[in-house]
Amino acid sequence: MLDKHKVRLYQIGLLVGSLTLWEAMARYELLDQFFFSRPLSILSRLFELLATADTYRHLSITFTETLLAFIIGTALGIGAGLWLALAPMALKVLTPYIKAFNAIPRVVLAPIFTLWFGLGIASKVALGVTLVFFLTFFNTWQGVREVNPVVLANARMLGAGRGHLLRHVYLPSAAGWIISSLRSAIGFAVVGAVVGEYLGSAAGLGYLIAQAEGVFDTTGVFAGMTTMLVFVLILDWTVSRVERRILAWRPAASAGEEMI
């Protein structure tokens, strides 16, 4: 318990210290404010942004894209992962294609998606889905493959059919893997949305950042990045809540790999 407080103290110290250093260096012109801005002006810009109604429109668009990419991507990923893990033939046939698709850098897809789906939400969601899908897919598949064969045999002896095995054995067994992928997936969904906006759109956090960058407004870029950071932290925290609830059956040691 004491150790935990100590860690928290050092963490806060590190943050405050480096921000102070940054601020001081900018004030005494050791850092060029044009390129590096400084924490206090970023903070005041953040307050300005929070006071502007338009900001919330951008945020809600990015949020919508993130959520859609997250939901669609994980649903497809879990579905495909379960299916391929239980259909070894299909897996063998599809493996090289899956590997090939996964090897494509997603940023390259962004312009194509814009071409296909337009400048609106859909192209960003599509980009996010390609990121989220493979992550949850591989995790689900791995989770299913790691099902304890004795537990599986026991369930079969107790009379479980295919549907029962899926629901009572495979899914809960893979839950740990799936859920640990959800936390990264939410990050990926944000990346998909923001990068998509950044590369071509008329709204959203990525658009705001791109706009600021276009006029060399470093403060605006940092303010946008900070907003995104807080946004991701909140989503991550929400998922970790859900995680703890679903994995209640686990011994504490393996469920509690908390970083923050």
Binding site: V151, A155, M157, H168
Partner: protein, 261 residues
């Protein structure tokens, strides 16, 4: 050996090969209805493999399995299997683990939980129904496992060294508990163990497997000890020691062989 009549489990010429390794060869065993048969043999001779074959979880390389007069084709609802390793569903509470089989067989969840509660009480786990397996001791987990199977009222009970991982006191308690439950309706039991004392204390008959590879049946002994028995006390009786000496005379050589490998 009983040739016809009421054999609940009949194994004929069972062989099991893993690649070039032949674990079992030509195993013949009959278990009568209501009989408690213990299968002993040195570690690694193929006892678990044989039980998996009887359960329908593994196919024998050759040979036939008959259950209750019919040729077996895959896992059978009338068979209950208590595994050697932990086999409870880790994400279900003790109560839901016991109820699982009923739910798999289409029973209503509420109904299944009510029945499960009765079995939780029967195996003395009142107060632990909402614990997850990792929160239970080894002995408690075995009790849950036993209840999980007995609630389905199987005709045939297969048990693979169910108590071997328990400390000796817990183990004796569990053995007595098993006998008490078995006495209620005398199901057919095939009980695998490498512990000869346990085999004699529990069973009506002890079947001895030889050391692998190519393990087969090399001994079949009636256990003429009265029931009900107390496993801790019966070990001290003259009749127990007498039958122990006879079986050990055969088993010892096999154990030595399996050590020598």
């Amino acid at each position: 050996m009983i040739e016809d009549g009421n054999a609940a489990v009949r194994l004929r010429g069972i062989s099991a090969r893993f690649g070039s390794h032949t674990a079992l060869e030509g195993v013949d065993i009959d278990v009568c209805e209501g009989e408690f048969v213990a299968l002993v043999g040195p570690t690694g001779c193929g006892k678990s493999t044989l039980l998996n074959v009887v359960a329908g979880l593994a196919l024998p390389s050759s040979g036939d399995v008959h259950l209750l007069g019919e040729t077996m084709k895959g896992p059978d609802r009338r068979t209950g299997y208590l595994f050697q390793q932990d086999a409870l569903l880790p994400w279900k509470t003790a109560l839901d683990n016991v109820a699982a089989g009923l739910i798999f067989r289409g029973e209503d969840i509420k109904e299944a939980r009510l029945k499960a509660q009765v079995w939780i009480d029967k195996v003395h786990l009142k107060g632990f129904e909402n614990h997850y397996p990792h929160q239970l001791s080894g002995g408690m987990k075995k009790r849950v496992g036993l209840a999980q199977i007995l609630i389905l009222d199987p005709n045939i009970l297969l048990m693979d060294e169910p108590f071997s991982a328990l400390d000796i006191q817990t183990r004796n308690l569990m053995e007595n508990e098993l006998l008490r439950l078995w006495q209620e309706d005398r199901k057919t039991v095939l009980f695998v163990t490498h512990d000869l004392e346990e085999a004699i204390a529990l069973a009506d008959r002890v079947v001895v497997l030889s050391a692998g590879p190519r393990a087969s049946v090399i001994g079949d002994f009636e256990v003429p000890l009265a029931r009900p028995r107390d496993v801790m006390e019966i070990r001290l009786t003259e009749a127990f020691l007498e039958i122990y000496r006879r079986i050990w005379g055969i088993l010892r050589g096999e154990v030595m062989k399996s050590y020598a490998r």
